[in-house]
Every structure is written in structure tokens, then in C-alpha cells.
């Protein structure tokens, strides 16, 4: 009887579809036989305004999921109870791909996807809340690149997520604008949290631990969106980032040494404050230029306007790692200071001056150590340069960007 009813309502659904009379009803997907197909179908047939609930349980999926309908909430019953496992995935580049607007993803887990975990491309108002994305075999180069991965998106909210094991960045926001990443946890990834080629981001209240590097603020050349700027990184705990770099070679995060706390590379107007940093073996804060050769006239390879202040520094710099670690310690010795600036300047500015809004400012508690490696001088004056460790030379401040306001929060 139950089976008959199922079949009848199935044909009704088809009939209604063929006449455009589908009801905007919430849908609930349960685990079990055909769950992959039912999930795919529920996400495709969802109507704007719908909530698709994925009931607690384990889902062994072979094919990636995708959502292309605006105004949909996809809700699990807990990041440890609704588990979408992609261990047996044979198709698609990611676990879940969202390409629509005003979408909320909440309370489920994505495990062991072959590519990225949960991705949004070109979404406006996308919320990732209380998700867990994890590669369960621990840090491995074969793991997917990104855990939570909004790209080319606008109004991005990431909160309460946990990401483990990403072979690039656990939480990665790329080529996006107006971003909040808060109260999340990133561990055992190459990069814990990475904001790349993005405009206006607030990263706060997060824990980044046991990654290779905790929080990265990067800008890269040859991309449709570049010139990342107006980033605030504050109230985070960036501690014990001690996992050896396991990124597949060729990826830019491959340069990150084990034990990097917060790294700012080639961005503009970046504010790092009120963070707790300890147990980062290479250094707590690194400010650096893009190190590779590139061909891109529109790209600014040095960081412009960086303000580091009021952070709390514990032990660190005692186990500098890799090529970057060597470049630093060749100049600074060990332990590496709390804050390192590579001191790369554009040559015209080296011979004239850097305007106030483009300088690096450091205003930290007494006892904080600092070094400017003066790499530009190393190149131009190989016999007549010395590093600058006088933190007072960098006193000053920059006006702080306004807090990021997201439309999905204004009515909540």
C-alpha cells in the first residue's frame, strides 16, 4: 500500500511539473535506498522559498550535489548527525555546488569529497552555517583543495563551520566581496582560513589551529578579480599551527611554511588586531610580497597599507620551517621575531618614499619582537644593508574599514 501511494504521488509530481503547478512545499530527504538520486532531485525541484531538510543519517553518495534555485535553505539535522559522505564519489568536482542567490546551507557535514567540499560560484547572499567539512583520513595531498569555498560571490557569511584536512585552505573565500567569516574552526588544513583576491572581509572569532598556516590574506596575479583590499582580521585564536605543508606542489599555499600564524601577501588596507597567537613555529605574523615571477601589468605585488596592532603573542618562531623559514632566519636568526616583514618595496618608492596610506604600521604591546628583512636592500645594496628590528620605526595607524554589513543579516 505504502508503495502504491509512493508511485501515485510520484506520477502526480510529474504531472504537476508538466503543467507548471508544482506546489512550493518544503521537502525532506531521508537516508537509504536511492538517497543520492532523491537528494539531487530535491535540490533541482526546489522552489524559491523552500527548505530542503536532509534528515539525520549517513548518506553514501557517488555523485556531487548542486543547487541552482534562488532563496532555498538546505538544512541538515546537525553537523555530526546529517553526514554526506563522498568517499565513493565518481563524478563532479565538488561535494555540493551552489550557483544561485540567497541560499542558506546549515547543519550538515560533507566528508571526503574528491574535489572541494562545499562551493558557491557567483552567488549573492550565500550563508554557510554550522557545517562540518572534513577529509576523514587526516591531512593528505590527495584530499580536496578547499572545504568551504565561496568564489566570485557577494555577501558571504560563514559562521560556526568546522573544516579539517583540506589540502589547500579549509575556509577559502576567493574573488568575492563583502565577507564575514566568524566563530569557525579550521584545523589540520594547509591554510586554515584564506581570503584571496577579495574585497571587504571581516574575519573574527575563529580558531585556526594545527594547520600549516593559520590565516592567509593573499592577492594573486592573472585573475579576473584582483587588488584585494579592506580586510579586518581580529579576535581570532591562531595557535599551534604545526602541520607540515601537504599541499600538492604548484599551488601557491605550497610556499607556506609550517608554523605560520597570519600571513598577509600583496593586499591593500589589511588590519590585524586583538588576535591571540602562540605556538606558531615559523612566525606569528608575516607581511610579504608575491614571490613568484608573473606577467600582469595590472597586478600590485607588494602589500599596501597594513596595520598590525594590539595582538597577544605567546611562544613562537622557535621552529622555522622550509624555504621561507630559511630566508627569514638567514637574516633574523632563531627564534624568529613575532612579526616579520619581508621589506620588499617597489623600486621607485625605494628611492623616493611610500605614501602614508601605503605603509606598514605596527603598534604592539611592549616586548613584541619585529624584523624588517629589507629584501629590497638585499637586492640593490648587497654589501650595505642591515635588517631593521626597531619596532618603534613602524609606529602609526591607519583608519579602520567599516564593519562589513550583510543583507542576509539585516532582517534576521
Amino acid at each position: 500500500m505504502a508503495r502504491t501511494i509512493g508511485r501515485v504521488s510520484g506520477s502526480i509530481a510529474l504531472l504537476m511539473m508538466s503543467t507548471g503547478l508544482a506546489l512550493a512545499a518544503d521537502q525532506r530527504v531521508e537516508p537509504g535506498e536511492g538517497a543520492n538520486e532523491r537528494l539531487i532531485e530535491a535540490l533541482i525541484l526546489a522552489e524559491p522559498g523552500d527548505t530542503v531538510t536532509i534528515a539525520a543519517g549517513r548518506y553514501d553518495l557517488t555523485d556531487g550535489l548542486s543547487l541552482d534555485v534562488d532563496d532555498v535553505t538546505v538544512r541538515g539535522e546537525g553537523a555530526d548527525r546529517t553526514v554526506l559522505s563522498f568517499k565513493g564519489q565518481t563524478g563532479s568536482g565538488e561535494g555540493l555546488l551552489v550557483t544561485s542567490d540567497r541560499v542558506v546551507l546549515t547543519d550538515f557535514a560533507v566528508e571526503d569529497s574528491k574535489g572541494d567540499g562545499v562551493k558557491s560560484k557567483g552567488s549573492d547572499q550565500i550563508t554557510f552555517r554550522n557545517l562540518r567539512v572534513e577529509w576523514t583520513g587526516g591531512p593528505k595531498a590527495e584530499n580536496g583543495a578547499y572545504g568551504v569555498y565561496p568564489v566570485s560571490s557577494k555577501n558571504v557569511l560563514i559562521e560556526g563551520v568546522t573544516v579539517r584536512g583540506a589540502s589547500d585552505a579549509g575556509i577559502y573565500v576567493g574573488q568575492s566581496e563583502d565577507i564575514v567569516v566568524r566563530n569557525s574552526r579550521a584545523e589540520y588544513n594547509v591554510a586554515g582560513i584564506e581570503i584571496e583576491n577579495s574585497f571587504r572581509a571581516d574575519v573574527y572569532g575563529n580558531v585556526a589551529t594545527h594547520n600549516t598556516g593559520g590565516i592567509l590574506i593573499f592577492d594573486l596575479p592573472n585573475l579576473p578579480v584582483q587588488g584585494g583590499h579592506d580586510i579586518r582580521v581580529f579576535d581570532n585564536e591562531v595557535v599551534d599551527n604545526d602541520t607540515p605543508n601537504f599541499a600538492p606542489e604548484g599551488n601557491i599555499v605550497g610556499i607556506v611554511p609550517k608554523g605560520m600564524g597570519i600571513m598577509v601577501m600583496a593586499n591593500r588596507n589589511v588590519h590585524v588586531f586583538n588576535n591571540k597567537l602562540s605556538g606558531n613555529g615559523t612566525t606569528h605574523v608575516l607581511i610579504a610580497a608575491y614571490p613568484n615571477e608573473y606577467e600582469d601589468d595590472s597586478y600590485m605585488f607588494v602589500p599596501r597599507g597594513v596595520y598590525i596592532h594590539d595582538n597577544e603573542y605567546g611562544d613562537g618562531g622557535t621552529a622555522p620551517d622550509g624555504e621561507v623559514g630559511k630566508i627569514i632566519t638567514d637574516v633574523s636568526g632563531t627564534p624568529v621575531p613575532d612579526i616579520v616583514w619581508d621589506g620588499v618595496t617597489r623600486i621607485p618608492e625605494y628611492f623616493s618614499w611610500v605614501s602614508a596610506e601605503n605603509r606598514v604600521y605596527v603598534d604592539e604591546p611592549d616586548g613584541t619582537s619585529f624584523v624588517n628583512l629589507k629584501m629590497i636592500s638585499q637586492m640593490l645594496l648587497p654589501w650595505g644593508w642591515w635588517p631593521d628590528t626597531d619596532i618603534d620605526d613602524y609606529a602609526g595607524s591607519l583608519p579602520e574599514p567599516a564593519p562589513v554589513k550583510l543583507p542576509q543579516e539585516s532582517g534576521a
Binding site: S18, L21, L23, D68, D116, L220, P224
Partner: protein, 362 residues
């Protein structure tokens, strides 16, 4: 338990009746001036059965109905060696507008129809062919819609498929060895995974440069652009010699650069272009792309993850094995292989072409 079940359906019985009446109303409205049902193409939701469109006079033989024109592409997309039958239907009295560099601009009411099939032996593509799916792109007032219809085992009908399907395929391969794999019928979102241009569904195949070749019509071979113009279904087309043309990618007489670029254009550039789903990669592989870095030459990966294969550049001139592009084109592993969708096998001929192309670069 029973009452609950009845209540569940009960609310919908009324809707079902209204729906059925509407279906009847649509059917009644359509007077068969020709075999193709314009109303099915324009309807808000797709019909459940492929036959309702009336695209074929003999569907099993893939013989088109009146007004449905078969076509071919100089260089087609690789889809696990599937044989493809392509057709276009432009409503009576309307015409597509010629566009030099993108898909032709078709009028509302157009249908693009593509059937995917497998012969028992890939070396004999016309013999013992099994139809797997027919995909349709329908152009309505509000834009293109993409749907897939799955053929039944009897090959008598194809049914709308939304969630995709996996079809075991066994055939004799091009090398004469048995070939057995799982073919994927895309789900609705996956259609858009490739057919998205600035976020909207768009046809990919019918670009002038890829249509500018001869087709063996019932009445004899003729250039497709010229033929479409003669039929009155294409406006504003220059004569074929003034239209850009990509070579057939396997044409050994064509320059290898053009062959490789044609292959990349068709197999990659639907995503890897500035307006496509992979715009964020910065890797752009369209036929007309002139920026060497955007083409991948000396370009470092951005979000490739393990797709980089431990290599530094998308294309490392002179060094095919040091080029991520070749590594991903050769792979069949999800998360590494490119394209991400639409194939589970590697076309060794394409890998060989790309290898020779990169090896010849300086």
C-alpha cells in the same frame, strides 16, 4: 496509516485534475500544421515524453520530422566516445541571426536536439546503435531551457530525466578491445554546469566557426552555413569563405595549433572563458583567446588543489609532462580530470594531440 496516506494525496487530487485539463487544453490547441509541436517547446514545463515534441518521423532511426534539420560540428565535444545526432528546429517563418564569434542567435521557439548513442563497435559507428539519451535545448521567451530524455530499452520512447542517470555501456573500443564503463546522463543542474554563459543557459555547439563545414544532406553535400541560409533559417550570414572555421581536430592536414585550439575551444572553453563557470580560474581557452598567460602558458594554478599534479604551470612550453593541462586532460579521477563533467574515459587521441602541441611550443 491509511487515512494519513489518503490525506497526503487528497490535497493534490484536485491539482492533478486541473493539471490534466491543462494538458488536454495544450494538446487541443496544437493543430498539427507540421509534425513538430511548437507548444511543447514553448510550454512552461517540459513534456514527459520526447515523442510529444514530434521532432522525429522515425525516432528509433533518428530520422527528423519536416522542419528539423540535422547538422554536425567540425570539432565535437568528447563524451566518452558517444555517437551524436544533432538537429535544429527553427519555427516556421523565423530565422536565426548570424553571430561571428558566439553561438548563433536563435529565435524564440527554437529547439536544439542532440541524441547520444553507442554502437556495439566504435569502429562501426553506423551499425547496431543503441540510443541512450536525447538532450534538448528549448528557447522560450524567458531564455533557454535544458532537458535530457532517457531512451527505454525497447528504443521506442525517451522519458524526461531530471536527476540524471548512470548507464552501463559495453562496446568494442576504437582499438578493438572490449570497452566497458558507466555513462552518465547529466542531471538538470549539470546541463547548466557547461551551458552557462554569464549565469544563463546558452547553446554551445552551433557557433559559425564550428558549423562552417560540409554536411551530407539527403540532397547531397553542402556547406551548413550556406544551407541554413538557403532554407531561410539563418539571416545575415556571409558566404562561408568569409566565415571563421575551426578544423576537424583529427584532420592531420590542418596545423596542429589550430587543431589543439579547436579541441580546447569545444572541450574546455564553455567553462574556461571570462563569462563561463570557470571564470575564477583565469584560464581561458576560447578559440579567439590571444593572451598567452590566460591560455595557460606559464600560468600558475589558482584553485587546482591536487589537480595540479605537483606541476607548476598550466602549460609549460616544450614540456607536456610538466603541464597541468595535459595531466588533467589525461586523468579520469574525479577532482583531477578535466572537464569535470561529461566524461569518465580518456580520449588518447586528444591527449596525444595536446602532447604534440605543447611539445612543439617554445
Amino acid at each position: 496509516m491509511k487515512p494519513a496516506g489518503i490525506r497526503l494525496c487528497g490535497g493534490r487530487v484536485g491539482m492533478m485534475l486541473v493539471g490534466a485539463l491543462l494538458v488536454l487544453a495544450f494538446a487541443w490547441q496544437t493543430t498539427p500544421a507540421h509534425a513538430v509541436s511548437d507548444s511543447s517547446i514553448l510550454a512552461a514545463k517540459p513534456p514527459k515524453l520526447l515523442s510529444e515534441f514530434g521532432f522525429f518521423s522515425d525516432a528509433a532511426a533518428q530520422t527528423p520530422a519536416d522542419g528539423v534539420v540535422p547538422f554536425a560540428l567540425s570539432t565535437p565535444l568528447f563524451s566518452d566516445f558517444a555517437v551524436k545526432y544533432r538537429f535544429v528546429y527553427v519555427p516556421d517563418g523565423k530565422a536565426a541571426r548570424y553571430v561571428a564569434d558566439e553561438a548563433l542567435e536563435f529565435p524564440v521557439g527554437t529547439a536544439l536536439i542532440k541524441t547520444f548513442a553507442f554502437p556495439a563497435d566504435l569502429r562501426k559507428p553506423d551499425e547496431d546503435v543503441t540510443l541512450i539519451e536525447t538532450r534538448v535545448l528549448l528557447y522560450r521567451e524567458d531564455g533557454w531551457q535544458a532537458w535530457a530524455y532517457r531512451w527505454n530499452d525497447e528504443q521506442t520512447e525517451a522519458t524526461l530525466n531530471i536527476a540524471g542517470d548512470k548507464v552501463p555501456v559495453a562496446a568494442v573500443g576504437l582499438d578493438g578491445a572490449p570497452l566497458s564503463f558507466t555513462y552518465s546522463v547529466p542531471n538538470k543542474n549539470q546541463c547548466k554546469g557547461c551551458h552557462a554563459l554569464s549565469g544563463a543557459i546558452t547553446p554551445l555547439g552551433p557557433k559559425a566557426r564550428n558549423l562552417n563545414t560540409a554536411f551530407d544532406y539527403a540532397g547531397g553535400a553542402e556547406n551548413q552555413i550556406a544551407h541554413w541560409a538557403e532554407l531561410g533559417m539563418l539571416d545575415g550570414a556571409p558566404s562561408p569563405e568569409d566565415v571563421d572555421a575551426v578544423p576537424h581536430w583529427l584532420d592531420e592536414n590542418a596545423p596542429i595549433d589550430a587543431r589543439a585550439r579547436a579541441w580546447l575551444d569545444v572541450n574546455c572553453a564553455h567553462c574556461h572563458r571570462r563569462e563561463g563557470p570557470a571564470s575564477n580560474s583565469g584560464l581561458f581557452l576560447t578559440w579567439g583567446e590571444k593572451d598567452a598567460v590566460a591560455l595557460g602558458i606559464g600560468k600558475r594554478p589558482v584553485a587546482a588543489g591536487r589537480g595540479s599534479g605537483g606541476l607548476e604551470f598550466d602549460i609549460h612550453p616544450g614540456d607536456p609532462d610538466g603541464s597541468i593541462l595535459l595531466y588533467r586532460a589525461a586523468s579520469t579521477e574525479p577532482g583531477i580530470m578535466m572537464p569535470e563533467l561529461g566524461r569518465s574515459l580518456t580520449d588518447a587521441r586528444a591527449v596525444d594531440l595536446l602532447r604534440r602541441w605543447i611539445a612543439a611550443m617554445r
